[in-house]
Each structure stands twice: as C-alpha cells, then as structure tokens.
Symmetry: D2
Subunit: 338 residues, 4 copies
C-alpha cells in the first residue's frame, strides 16, 4: 500500500512534533503539504522533511488532490471550520483539541462528521501513552475487578501566561479536559453528576482574569463509580500525572514518569531527580503513538476512529458542569448543561 | 519520680495491647489494678503482669487509691459514664474512641471534662504512628508550603461481621472518624462543609443493615483547603492507609507499611508481599507510642492532653455531616449538624 | 509449663535489650538472676524488672538452682569459659558472638558443647530478622530456583572508635562475620575458597591500628555458587544492609529498612528520609525474635539450637581466610586455615 | 552548515536503527549511500529513506565523494579492514564493536587511527544512555565523593543461539565488554588486576562450545577502587542492567528501566510488569543519542571522539585477563595479557 499522503495545518510546536512522527514511519505515511501563515516556519519545515507543497491557505491544503489526511494544528478558533471543510472534502481528519469553546459549535461539528461519516480523530494523546494504555488494559482485563473509585491527579509544573489563561476557556476546558476524557475512558461509563471546588491559590492574576488555578472535582458516573480529578496549574516537583483505580479485585496505580532511574543516597536523603517537567517530554511516546494510530486507522478497513468528536463533546460538558458547580456551590447533573 | 499507678478497664484485645505497652516502660508506669467482667481473662492478665489488684467493678477501679490513671477499654456504651466518673474522681483518663454515638452525650462528657479540668486523652492512635508523625512534622516544618489539597485513603482488608456493623455507628463514625481526625490534625483548621457519596459495593448485607461500605467524602476547611477521604470496608491487597498533602512548596506522601522489604523478580512480575493486613500489626508502634505519650503527659507539668474530647467531638460531627450529605445529595455545613 | 528461669550475665546495652525481650513474654520466661560487675547497673535493672537475685560473680549465676538458661553478654574474652561452665552445669546457653578470637579456643568450646550435648544458641540475630527471614523463605521455597550468585552489602553508618577497632578482631571477624554467616545460611553450602581486597579508605588511624575499613570478598561455595560480601565501616546514608540472591527462576532482593514511608517531592528532588542508622533500631525485631526463638527451643522436645557453635566457627574461618587472601593477594581455601 | 553526508555499511537490525536516528535529525545529517550484500534489504531501506546511492561493495562506499562519514555495521571480521580503509580515505568513522577478536589486529587498527589522526567513534552506546549519563554526571559532580566500590550487574533475558556463542569471542568479549567499558568510564582509571569465577549454569551446550554463561569478575583499578561485574546469559525477569557506585559522600544506584510505571496490587502481591526484555528497547534512546553524538563530533572544531579505539582495546584486555584468571584460578594483571 502506498504511504498515506498527509497535509499538516500549522507547523508550530505541536505541528512539528506530528511531522517528526510521520517522518519516522516512511513506509506508512508521507507529508505532502504543509500550511502556515508564517513563511519562515513553512520553509524551514519544508527543508527539514523535503516536503513537496507549501501554502499559507488552509483551504488550499484541505482541497488538494495530493492530501488524503489532514492534521489540524491551527489556532482553536479555526478548528471547527477546518474539520467541517475536511469532512465535506472527504479527507481523513486529525484534530487537535479543543474542537471549540462553544457547545453549539461542537454540536455543529459533531453533526457534520456524523452526516458525512467522516473519520475524525480527536487528539486526546494520553489514551496512546504506554503507561495509560497499560492501566487501561489492566482495567479491561479485570485486574481491578469491578471499579469502585478512581482518582486522577494532573498538575502542571508552572501556570501558563495570564494572556493565555484568558483565551484558554478556563482550567476545566483547557487542562482538566484531558482528565475528564481519561476518567470516561477508564471507567467506560458516562458522567451523571459533577461537584467541584475551585480556587485561585497559585497566582491571583489568574483569578483576576476570571479563572481558577486549583480544582478538585468529584464525578459520579452512571454505573455508580465515583471519581475525583485533582488539578493544579503549579507543582514545584514537575509534571504530576497519576491515576489510581480501585476495584473489587485490586488496585491499579499509574505513577509519574522519570527521565532517569538513578537514586542518590547521601547524608541528607535517599533521592531521585524530579519527574519530567515538560508535557512534550512526558508524552513524547504518546504523541508518536497517537499519530501512528491515526495513520493506521486511515489504512484500516472500517476507518473507525478510536477517539472522536463525541468524546471531545463529553469531556467539554463535564468541564461546563464543573464550572457551574463551582459557581453555585451545588452538585450539577450533566443533563442540566446540554 | 515513682511510676504512674495505672488501672485498666477491659482486658480484651486492645486492653492487653495497652498492658504490654505499660509493662515495657517499667520505670515510668505500673499496672496496679485491672477490671473485667470475665474472670478467666482477669486472672490470666493478672498472672502475666504480676498485677496486685483485680475487680469486676469499673467504679471500684476508678475510685481506688492505688490508681492514678485509668485506661478505658470497656464497651462503647460505658465510655461516657466512666470518663465522667474518672473526671469526678480526679483521675487521669485515657479513653478509647468513640466517646459516644450520641452528640448530647459527647457534649455532656466534654462539659464535665472542661468543668473538672481533667486530663482526658482520646485514643486517636494514628497521631502517634511514626509514619503519620513524620508527615505531620513535614507539614509543620513547611516542607509542603501552604497546603492546597489533601487526600486520605483508608481501606480495611475485610469488612467486619454484619452484627458488628449494626452497632458500630456506621462507616463514618466507626472507620472514617480516624481519617477525619487526621485531616483536621494535618490541615490545622476546622471543617466547614462536607460532601459525600456513599454506597454498598462490598456486601449487600451491610446495606440491608442500613450502612454503607464504600464512601468518598470531600471536605472543605475554613482555611480554604479541600480534602478527600476515601474509605472502603474491603481491599483485596490488605490494609491501605495513605495520605497525600499537596502544597505550594511540594508534596508529602505517606505510603503503606510493609512487614518486609523483599522484592522478588520472576518471569511474571517484579513483586513484593502485601502491606500489613491487620490494624494491630500496622499500628503496633502507634499503640505503644500513644500509651507512652499518655504516661508522659500525666507526668508533665501542664498535664495538657495532645488529643482530647473536643477532637473526638469534631470528628464525630464531620461523620454526621457526611451521612446527611449522602442521604440528601447536597453539601452539608458542619454548622447544620451541631 | 512454668516460665523458663533465665539468668543474664552482663546488663549493658545488649543485656538490657535481652531483658526487655524476656519481659515481653512473661508466660514463657522470667528473669530470675542477673550478673554484672557494675553495681549501679545491677540495681537499676533489678528494679526495672523486679528481679529476685543479683550477683557480681558469673559462676554464681551459672551454678544457681534458680537459673535454667544463661544469656551470656559478658566481654568477649569471657565467652568461652562461661559457655564451657554452662555446658558443664547443664544449663541452656545463649552466647553473644564472637565465641572467641582464637581458633583453638573456639575448637575447645565446640568440643565441650558436643561432648555435653549442650543447647548452645549463638547470637546471629539477623537470621531472626523478619526481612532476612522472608528472603531465606523465598530461597527455601524455590522462588529464586537454583542459586547462581549472591551479593551481600553491609555498611555501617560510622566507624567505631579506634580503641574498639584494636580489640575487635578486625573488620572480618567483627563486622563481616554476620555477612559470612548469612551467606552460608542463605546458600546452604560451605565456603571452599575466599578472595579478598581490603583497604583503609575511611580513616587512616584504622590502618595504623592494623585493620582495614573497606573490604570486598568473593566467596566460592562447595555447591558452585559465587557470592560477594561488600563491607565498609562508614556509609554517609546510614546503615546499609542488603542482599541479592540471583537464581535460575528469579531474583530476591532485600532492601534497606526505613523508619518511615514518607516521600517528599519538592523543587529539588523526590526524596525520603535515610534508612535506620543504628543497628539496635534496624534489628529491634530481630533481637526480640531471636530471644523468643531461644526461649522456645529451650521448651522444645528436641532442644536443637537453630544456630550453634559450629556456625560461629565456620563464619570465623571465612574471616580468617579473607584476611590471609588480602595479605597474600591470592585466593585462599578454607582448608588452608583450619 | 550543510547536513553531514553519511554512508552506512550493513543495513540489518543495527544498521536500520542507525538509519532511523540519522533520519530523525534531517538538519544535521543525511544518508547519501548504503551498502549491503543482500539486495532486497538495500532496496527496501533505500525506499524508506529516499537514499540516492546504493552499492554491494563497502570499498565503493568508503571511497565515494558523496560520503563524509561511514557507519560500519558489517560482520565483525570486516570491521578492522573497513576502519583502516576509512582512516586512509579521510572519512569520519563510526564502528560497531568489537573492533576485532584478536589483539594484534586491534593494535594495528589503533596504530592506523593514530597515524592518520582519524575520528573513530567506537559504539559503546551505554555511555549515551540517559540513565548511565545521569550516573556518570553524579560521579563527575562529586555526589558520591571518592569512589570506594562499584558493582555492575548485566544479565540478558535469554542466551543467544549456541551457533552465535561459538563465533562471539566468548561471554567476556561479547557481553561483559560493555560492562568493562562502563567500569572504566565511571571510575576514570585503568584496571590493574582481574579475578574471575565463571561457570556454565544456564545451558550445558554453551559449555560444550567452550564458553561460559555465568561470570563474576572482580576488578582492581590503579586508583585503588575495587569493582565487581556480574554477568549471566539468562535472567527470568528480563534485561537486568544495574550499577551501584559507593563512595565517601554517598551512593548512586542505577536501577532497571521499565516500559510502564503501573503498579498492580491484588490479593497476592504488589507488583509491576517486568523491565524491558530486549536490548534495542532498553537502549533505544542510547542508540539515538550516540548517533547524534557522532554527527555532532563530526561537525565540531576539534573532531575528538568521546569514545575511541583505545577504549575498545582496554575493554578487550580486561576480558582477556578475566578469561585467563578463570582458567588459572589466579588473579591476573592487565600487564600480563598485553
């Protein structure tokens, strides 16, 4: 089978990461076109990967006969239109999240993807991380038995700039959304009710911008499982990404990932270096795996994406309910926010 | 200084544990009298520790001139009366928890202890466990900085008999009460609001007896800290007692305690034996330390108990609010239940 | 059965440790007499444990009709004569190691014990440590399969005073002897050949006193297993006591023991407190267990000590061969040194 | 700077690994020519990486004007001639180890490289593994203080085919050579004396082929450090690659690397999956890093290889001494074998 012809919209940090992943599987896929409004980036990446076509117009890329699959790494406010254009043009779609910060737009994208029966892969990369995959497999294989409780911890090393916070859609949409997706993915059920306490403990400017930096969410699922999601924009010790699944047969814990396994014992302590502190280091394998999974699903018979627009929508709704709970001080049903 | 003359009411499992602790510090304390309604136990323990006086009547022990300090290990429904009698008799008091399952009785005991200025030490032994003490010291020393979130996990290896469940006062009073006390102890603030999801996932008979076996509680403290307490009556892998304190400077985690440090690597896994599965093994040091702490405070100048009736009362109220939240589906303020 | 009547010669640090162990099993044993040349110690310990008889004369204790079992904690140069006197007097014997620093004396003790069929328990307390016992059980149960290699690490937190070093019999006799015994105990075979590199890296005064402070020994056993014993008089991070057994089915590792299980993550490292730094803390359970094992074997039908004079002799010979290897630069057979 | 023009001799498993590494740094290097006697492999790899030139003749590649640097992944018996040809042709050289199984040939290569002042990088990839690099940095930064003892464990998951064993040069040359190099690299001194016990415990056919499968080597360095190297051709639990450096200030331990950080607690044990069991998984980062290090040194001003022919020679001599010690039962000086 000829390599999949891939076009990439946006060759910033995450776009280049996807370029490298595609380049690492030359027999499976080939970057045929890239798009960016910033010409130096376009030329640089073209040179690195010997790419035939470049353009500043996303629609040119989407409509190109030399592009079978489109990887959308554009700014958030362009995601929805580009997904819809791809669906209409019959292209395979890989979309960075979030699809949108507005529910009606997400619903419109969802409808279009369903209508056109498009293959749309939404970028929840953690589902393709080897650690999370092992956790998920343990749960699927019954190592935990019937799940009783799940705890997810997700803390960033440092808060983003306040300017970013302002356009991020808020902590629940921007950061916790990955954890809400993971909770659904692990538990295999839909959230029924959300209770949340949020506050601004890291940086008061984040509060002034109308957001929070610290959040504790309790999720009750339709199948009776109760989960917590603990988020903070700042953790002194690095990128903290852990999960604990407790069930009738046992407990499965996913611990942090480290850049090395050295332990130093000295006169003060027995210690090791901090876990990864940058998400692209922590999730390097996950980003590569998700891209290969996308390429593979494009080549598959059923073209059925393992993670789609409806997953993005579900995670979005949990965040919306969390925000409403935090503001009202009361538990909020998902059915109240959609 | 002459050894403290100690009388012990009830020489069952926990009473004998306290006997052994007293016997291990012969220069500090001496058991002068024991009381139990079951004569063979009385005689057996008398022989083991060469104890001068025995009685079947708790009041005789409480009033004895040969007893300076009374350790109350009687059934729960006798605790309150015996504490009050000790307070009136001017004895130092060590009382197993709970003080009572009824708030008005707890309030009466509290009032009497205050009125008589009695030294009353309530048996929250975890505060004297070396692991929890190290955690508390880390927090006090500022190793975590300003606390943001606390997570307490407390799971038993196996549920108690249903007959016990019926008289236990319920999971929140019988089991979670230790965790509620620990949360207050670590965070150094009072609980303002409680939200709880409880269910019966281990044994339906526990549900039929009107109790739950699985509970997840979210506590909001007056100082803004949010904490979770995760309890289950059954954990396949043993006695699960962990705490995580997350703050501005770092994170302090207390992990489980194990009977040995051997790791076996074979063709299937890298593994170790399960953590302690019996609370008296897990907390052997804690029980001994708390008894020595009691003896020491009796010999101190200020006679100020490190943990008293008001601590028992505060933990009781959190449990009461948790139950009400679980039943109503709404967050409950502590001020609503007292 | 009436409690075993125990006499203790020497109530210094280790003697008092044994007193506490005996006092903790009042139904099994009772201290009836103690001996020490230092009267204040005698009186203090008598008062603590309410002991009937005291004496300054070891032979009076050994011959007393009120003593069935003798615990010998006297200075090393008295061990041999007291063991022999006990054997002749028909007493059960618990002897602190070493039996002697001279092979001919050890041989004489060995002969007397065999001749009188005496129960003589030699104090290799590590064999009764829960961690080492779990390791031994793993090996016995076949978890490692056929043993290929064993590594023992044994490092002290700090070197003893040079004055002590001078009378200690040297690092191999004083310190490594426990490890040589453990190697034999685990491997279940006798050492055939010893190769050793020793040096003085911690304190030159130890070298000037004719001893070493750092040693690496390679032991070849009759059954073909090869083992290393790594000793150092000083480790900045505390008392380092580890074993690794590697075999056809797997590997069993005994790691260090810690006073608490707290982990602190801060901006510099993920760390925990150092392991125990004092041997009486690290081996608290081992000391208690070995004393109970002694009391139990005295009460058993066959009176067969689990660890005897021949074990002490075998460990002594390994040390002697190690020293000779170090001095000659050549491997030394055990058959060359006895 | 234009990308380095790289030619690769041999596109089997390790050759393709190097291809992928080169392809991942398109701005730094470019594969311009590959050589293999097996045409389908040549064509397949040419297609994957869009390579301009192919040949079946190594000398054509070495002499090509389109090749600046040569990566030698041919069979061992061609290494020496190809290194010499590259040196004479003025090419940068990356050579898989071993340089040769004969000392006189190694010496000839060494002389030629020195004479031509060639850049010759010998493939001890572990020096470029992030875990070993962290260990080395800890030692260099003084975290261990003055080194006293080093222990290296290196066990394979499974023995190679006996047919391979016969041409491998023996365990010490084929397997332990990486550990001997690492010992020199960490300790920063040369080996003076070697003592070794070897045996055949895994597969008797390996013994019949004249080799061993289990080895324990004690190395004494010129600077007084003593090290052990423990090798076995089979470990039930996977690829076991550990190092412990003990010194005056502390201990640095490198533990095994795992494919995931999940811990499963069930009713039997607390366990995790086995470490990596394939060296190309375990050392994936190391292989990539060493290739980038080679490319970088080719572009550097001083063209000074971080690991060269003299390192290969030193490791070879340690293996030769180990074999002689094992056969004679005596310690062997390096000066006796060269």
């Amino acid at each position: 089978m000829a390599p999949l012809k891939v076009g990439i919209i946006g060759v910033g940090r995450i776009g280049r990461c996807h370029c490298a992943s595609i380049a690492s599987v030359p027999t499976k896929a080939k970057i045929t076109m890239i798009c960016d409004i910033y010409e130096p980036a376009l030329l640089e990446v073209q040179g690195m990967y010997n790419i035939e076509h470049i353009t500043k117009d996303p629609m040119e890329l989407i409509k190109s006969a030399d592009v079978e699959a489109v990887i959308i790494c554009s700014p958030t406010d362009q995601h929805a239109d580009q997904i819809i254009a791809c669906a209409e043009a019959g292209k395979y779609i890989f979309a960075e999240k979030p699809i949108s910060l507005a529910l009606d737009i997400i619903d419109r994208v969802d409808a279009k993807v369903k209508e056109t029966n498009a293959l749309c892969f939404v970028a929840f990369q953690r589902r393709f991380d080897p650690h999370f995959m092992r956790l998920k497999k343990a749960v699927t294989d019954g190592e935990a038995g019937d799940i009783r409780t799940v705890h997810i911890t997700s803390r960033d090393p440092n808060p983003p700039p306040v300017a970013y916070v302002k356009v991020s859609g808020g902590l629940h949409n921007d950061m916790a959304v990955h954890d809400f997706d993971m909770a659904r993915h692990i538990i295999g059920s839909e959230v029924e009710e959300v209770y949340c306490k949020g506050s601004c403990k890291v940086n008061p400017e984040i509060g002034e911008a109308g957001d929070i930096d610290t959040s504790l969410v309790m999720l009750t699922f339709e199948n009776g499982v109760v989960a917590t999601v603990d988020n903070c924009r700042q953790a002194s010790y690095g990128y903290d990404q852990r999960v604990e699944v407790f069930g009738s047969k046992g407990m499965v814990q996913l611990n942090n990932a480290y850049g090395n396994n050295c332990v130093v014992s000295n006169s003060a302590a027995v210690q090791r270096d901090l876990p990864f502190s940058f998400f692209m280091d922590r999730y390097a394998d996950a980003y590569r795996n998700e891209m290969i999974a996308f390429v593979d699903v494009c080549a598959s018979a059923d073209k059925k994406s393992p993670v789609g627009v409806s997953d993005g929508r579900a995670a979005y709704l949990i965040g919306k309910a969390a925000k409403q709970s935090m503001e009202t001080g009361k538990p909020v049903k998902i059915s109240e926010v959609c």
